[in-house]
């Protein structure tokens, strides 16, 4: 029978691993068996060398140190706070305690009999693996740091085996045909079609004598390039095949292969021994294989988006993408993959919106059809990090036009921008509070004006300019003419080259938000305080990392990497001495993105404010660890750009 007291204990346990993996029945059974201790500062729960008690412990509140006593004296091995599980190792190994547990702050401790838990360990592979993962790493306290957390969770995923999305972490589960239908280039189209019909497949790979792929012919090609174009079926296939073939090797892992297919809109991806077309074909993945493996797939959604210009329909598809996002996040799919997929979906929506808007204006402004322009995404969408439909930040850049056309161009591109923004808003995106949108005349400008904007910000780095920089410097070409965007990038690097001190201003700006170190500490110890309820994850944790990554990337003159975590990866590559820190920072950023998106999805908002109390132990630990690289990075930046001196 459920009971208020048991429920209260269960509610607490549920927030922390491994209890978070338990079903309600098991959880109640565990909660029912708890004994609550209260120890005051200075007391000892168990001593090193004592025989293991028949229960292990989870700290309900307070702080306990696990201390090792040796000839060298006492050494603190672990600090336990709320939700930490300890005293397990001795108990599972049935040997004496290795450490002494000292109460540092008055502690309420839940003791759980091992007998109850052993049964659950036997039945629940996730819980067993959770413990195993921790102990293999020599942990005395059950909790996870950044890398181990990820490792442990991916192991758990494999163990449970109940998710179709396993394929993302386990490449051996990729379904693809190893038998690839192929033919030499001189085969007639008709014979090739016959072979396809016989084998009941939708594609044939054209190979040379060494089995190296030359091209591919699909059902669609037969329809559009042969029948519709009235080409004789007696001609050789080499005349109508798609070439060159995009190839990958199967060891690339499913998410990579799949991303290639999405990016290049491939229905078939050819796999070769070494991944180039200079090695033998060894397999083929069709989008049909992919569809069979999952329901709400990115390819399906993108396909849907590409085939509609109806805004209501686009909105529905974007909503579905959010469901898929939720699924990905909960299943720990790699952030790189998730961000790429969501960016691609957002980009397709923007391109479709642009098409819609263009079509509407076509008749009215015939003279503008040939004017080159480019649609830029800024801010988080520019960085390919926009998972949720948070603020729109975008702009339009068009080529300088002849004098007589100027007013016409101003009018046309503004209307074009307005049209795009309207579609995006209808698709559920939020407008930019700072009005940095393609519907604002200030941000719909010819190249020369844009160059002046950036020159001005770089030469006169006022606080306001620096704020703009943080948004505009992450611009990314989404549609139109990429060359214009590239020209603007070149201009920016030239200007920065001329005025290196700009980077110092940028650095100063990046230091404005100190990391929230000690936040959880305060939270655990203090019972009240202004941060008790909410935590601004964007301002306090993500923004400092974004700013630092941008600054460092600019200082290395790197172009084309917009993603904060990819920027950190690149930095790790460039500066081997700091590579550890950079990759930590990259990982931290991924975790923050994941948490923010999950929070936003749960609460149907932008996820910016997080209630730390609602987080589980693992999440809190991850969040806490994610703050750590920020201060170290700021230290490096401080020294590198000599900010203390600079600030006078």
């Amino acid at each position: 029978m459920s009971n208020v007291i048991v429920n209260r204990v269960a509610e607490f346990l549920k927030r922390f691993p491994p209890f978070s993996f338990l079903g309600d029945g098991d959880l109640t059974r565990v909660a029912q068996s708890v004994a609550v201790h209260y120890l005051e500062q200075g007391e000892i729960l168990f001593r090193q060398g004592e025989a293991a008690r028949p229960h292990f412990f989870i700290l309900r509140e307070g702080i306990i140190h696990l201390v090792e006593t040796s000839q060298k004296g006492e050494e603190i091995r672990e600090v336990c706070d709320e939700g930490d599980v300890f005293g397990v190792l001795a108990l599972l190994g049935k040997r004496p305690y290795l450490l002494t547990s000292k109460v540092i702050e008055n502690s309420l401790i839940y003791a759980i009999p091992v007998a109850v838990f052993e049964k659950i360990l036997e039945e629940n592979s996730r819980v067993a693996l959770f413990f195993a993962a921790g102990f293999a790493a020599g942990q005395v306290v059950v909790r996870q740091d950044l890398s181990q957390g990820q490792k442990a969770r991916s192991e758990l995923k494999k163990a449970s085996g109940d998710h179709p999305l396993l394929i993302f972490s386990d490449q051996s589960a990729v379904n693809f045909s190893e038998k690839v239908l192929n033919c030499p280039p001189e085969t007639s189209i008709q014979n090739a079609a016959k072979m396809m019909a016989e084998a009941q497949v939708s594609s044939i790979v054209i190979c040379d004598s060494q089995d190296f792929p030359l091209g591919i012919l699909t059902d669609k090609d037969l329809r559009s390039r042969v029948l519709a174009s009235e080409i004789s079926p007696q001609n050789p296939v080499s005349q109508v095949m798609t070439r060159p073939v995009i190839t990958r090797k199967k060891q690339d892992g499913f998410s990579n292969l799949y991303l290639t297919m999405i990016r290049h809109r491939l229905h078939h991806l050819v796999l070769t021994e070494d991944g180039t077309d200079q090695s033998p074909v060894c397999g083929i993945i069709s989008d049909h294989d992919v569809f069979l493996s999952m329901g709400n797939s990115p390819a399906v959604l993108i396909h849907g988006l590409m085939n509609t210009q109806e805004v209501g329909e686009m909105r529905k598809i974007r909503d579905r993408a959010e469901q898929m996002l939720c699924y990905y996040l909960e299943n720990e799919v790699s952030m790189e993959f998730v961000a790429s997929v969501m960016t691609e979906i957002n980009d397709v929506i923007i391109r479709q919106a642009l098409e819609i808007s263009k079509t509407q204006l076509k008749a009215q402004y015939p003279e503008m059809n040939s004017t080159r322009f480019c649609f830029l995404s800024m801010g988080s969408e520019g960085r390919e990090e926009q998972l949720l439909r948070t603020d729109l930040d975008n702009a339009i850049l068009y080529e300088d036009v002849a004098e007589g056309l100027q007013s016409k161009a101003t009018e046309y591109f503004l209307k074009l921008g307005e049209g795009v923004v309207e579609v995006l808003l209808a698709c559920g995106f939020d407008p930019c509070p700072g009005k940095i949108m393609a519907s604002n005349p200030e941000w719909v400008q010819p190249l020369s004006v844009w160059k002046n904007y950036f020159s001005d910000w770089i030469l006169h780095p006022s606080p306001e300019a620096l704020m703009k920089v943080s948004i505009f410097f992450d611009f990314r070409f989404v549609a139109g003419s990429n060359a214009l965007a590239a020209e603007l990038s070149d201009h920016i690097y030239q200007e920065i080259g001329k005025k290196q001190i700009f980077l110092n201003f940028l650095a100063q700006n990046a230091m404005k938000n100190p990391p929230p170190l000690g936040f959880f500490r305060d939270f655990v110890v203090e019972k009240s305080g202004e941060n008790r309820d909410q935590f601004d994850i964007k301002l306090r944790a993500m923004l400092p990392l974004t700013d630092l990554a941008r600054l460092l990337v600019l200082s290395h003159q790197i172009v084309g990497i917009n993603n904060t975590f990819q920027r950190f990866e690149k930095l790790a590559e460039l500066e081997s001495s700091n590579s550890e820190l950079y990759s930590q920072a990259g990982k931290a950023y991924e975790i923050l993105m994941r948490m923010r998106a999950l929070e936003g999805l749960q609460n149907k908002n932008n996820g910016r404010y997080i209630n730390p109390k609602s987080l589980g132990k693992l999440q809190r630990q991850l969040l806490k660890n994610a703050f750590a690289p920020i201060s170290e990075l700021q230290e490096i930046v401080n020294i590198r750009f000599q900010l203390d001196y600079f600030r006078r």
């Binding site: 029978m1 208020v4 007291i5 068996s33 609550v36 209260y38 005051e40 309420l108």
Partner: protein
């Protein structure tokens, strides 16, 4: 002992009361240390504050032994009362209660559960009056168990044994106020079991304070009661 005579003329079905009383004949030695004592921390929700008219809507309790709250012993019972549908019931939000048990079943369960443990409660006297009222129909005029009131214990520990309760602001000794003072989260106030659990946590914390003041055995603990 006066209660002994009360049970004598009753029927055989009241055997459970005899068992209970037998268990309570054993006295607890005064020098028994506190960590060897068995406590039942309890709370009741009632239809009102007049023991002669009102009755118990719910009873929640949990045991403390070896100075640990034993969650496995947590209970929550809802005895049927004569005046269900009373306005107070609605105030307490206890209108449609599942698993209600008859008055006799409640008393049977209660006595078996209490045994000879030391009863602990906040404003224990009120809860005992309500319970005793239920027991009187079964020939028992009051529970023979020893009791510790966490309210009096807190005052005794904070103001000394000679404290004059009339000169103390009682508001600062409500369960809510004490929980806040001793750092106990009060999520489940106003359910009998929720309050019993809070009281149990408060009791553990108070016992630590008591220990520092030299109150370490049964005799010390129940001295004033």
């Amino acid at each position: 002992m006066s209660w002994w005579e009360f049970w004598k003329p009753k029927h055989e079905r009241l055997e459970f009361i005899r068992d209970f009383l037998t268990a309570n004949e054993q006295t607890i030695p005064g020098i028994r240390s506190i960590d060897q004592l068995n406590f039942t921390v309890l709370d009741t929700e009632t239809t009102g504050f007049d023991p002669s008219r009102d009755s118990i809507l719910s009873f929640g309790a949990v045991k403390v032994s070896e100075l640990k709250i034993q969650i496995s012993t947590a209970v929550e019972w809802y005895p049927l009362s004569e005046n269900t549908g009373d306005k107070t019931a609605q105030i307490h939000g206890l209108v449609d209660i599942p698993d209600q048990i008859s008055k006799e079943e409640f008393v049977r369960k209660l006595l078996a559960y209490l045994g000879n443990s030391i009863l602990v409660g906040h404003h224990l006297g009120f809860d005992l009056e309500m319970i005793n009222r239920q027991l009187s129909d079964f020939g028992l005029d009051q529970l023979p168990n020893a009791g510790v009131d966490t309210l009096s214990l807190a005052i005794r520990l904070e103001h000394g044994p000679q404290a004059d309760q009339n000169r103390i602001k009682m508001g600062t000794y409500s369960l809510d106020a004490l929980c806040e003072r001793y750092g106990i989260d009060t999520d489940d106030r106003h359910t009998a079991a929720g309050d019993a659990f809070l009281t149990a946590q408060l009791f553990l914390k108070l016992l630590k304070v008591a220990e520092r003041k030299g109150i370490i055995n049964y005799r010390d603990l129940i001295k004033n009661w």
